[in-house]
């Protein structure tokens, strides 16, 4: 049951922020909402209720590394599309690799 609630809350939060990004202009401003804390708000709220504040606090600490990974991912994707004219889907998927490398790199060096 907890998974169903997580799925519904997370999906709804992502949908709301994505819809906000759809209606806003210019594109560079709308893009800010691509990195909205939608999954984090859903997860942290549910985690605080289920597992307590300390557990959620540990998650937030690691999330800093994840966010830096996200920065690397979005930057690389932008460069691939802008400079090398790579298609959006391929650029974004390639950049996901950068997310894993940077996030887990910081985690292994500083947070493990």
């Amino acid at each position: 049951m907890q998974f169903v609630i997580r799925f519904l809350v997370g999906g709804t939060m992502v949908l709301i922020f994505a819809a906000l990004g759809d209606v806003l202009k210019p594109k560079s401003f709308a893009g800010l909402f691509g990195a909205a804390p939608s999954v984090a708000l859903a997860t942290l709220t549910l985690t605080i209720f289920a597992d307590g504040v300390n557990y959620a606090d540990s998650e937030a600490r690691s999330m800093i590394a994840g966010a830096i990974g996200f920065l690397a991912c979005a930057f690389l994707s932008c460069q691939l599309m802008m400079r090398w004219r790579v298609r959006g889907a391929y650029a974004a998927l390639a950049a996901i690799v950068a997310w894993f490398a940077v996030s887990f790199g910081i985690w292994a060096k500083a947070l493990k």
Binding site: Q2, F3, R6, F7, L8, V9, G10, G11, T12, M13, V14, L15, A18, A19, G21, V23, L24, K25, P26, S28, F29, A30, G31, L32, G34, P37, V39, A40, A42, T43, T47, I48, V53, A56, D57, S58, E59, A60, R61, S62, M63, I64, G66, A67, I68, G69, F70, L71, A74, F75, S77, M81, R87, G88, A91, I96, W99, S103, F104, W107
Partner: protein, 145 residues
Amino acid sequence: MNKAGISVDFSALARTRWYEFAIRFIFGGAITVCAGVLAKKYGPSVGGLFLAFPAIFPAATTLVEKHEREKKRKAGMEGDNRGRSAAALDAAGTAMGSVGLAAFAYVVYKGLPLTNAAIVLPVASFVWLLASFVIWKLRKIRHRL
């Protein structure tokens, strides 16, 4: 359009098809479940990384590129380059937003041991928006100089 150059165009929602909303909902829900499962299996330290996983980023980039390409083709123009540029601009915005996301996580990390979560989460969300907006605005000013 206001002084900051930001405008709202609700007709963009009408251009989005139902399955495009469904894709975002499913990806968003799935990563929220995955973050929970990974936290339970490997601990909150690993699970926390996935609170900032770019789950809908590939889908969003593809949709922006596709919508812009279709818009230009309807107007009788070649839409590939325009679509790619729009997607690249969107990704640049996402990169700026992710700096705000790191600020969000920092505020939650420092704030949760000190005060109520009902205060920390809204404040952190505001910090995300403010930090993202300031970076976006500074970049805009730099480009104008």
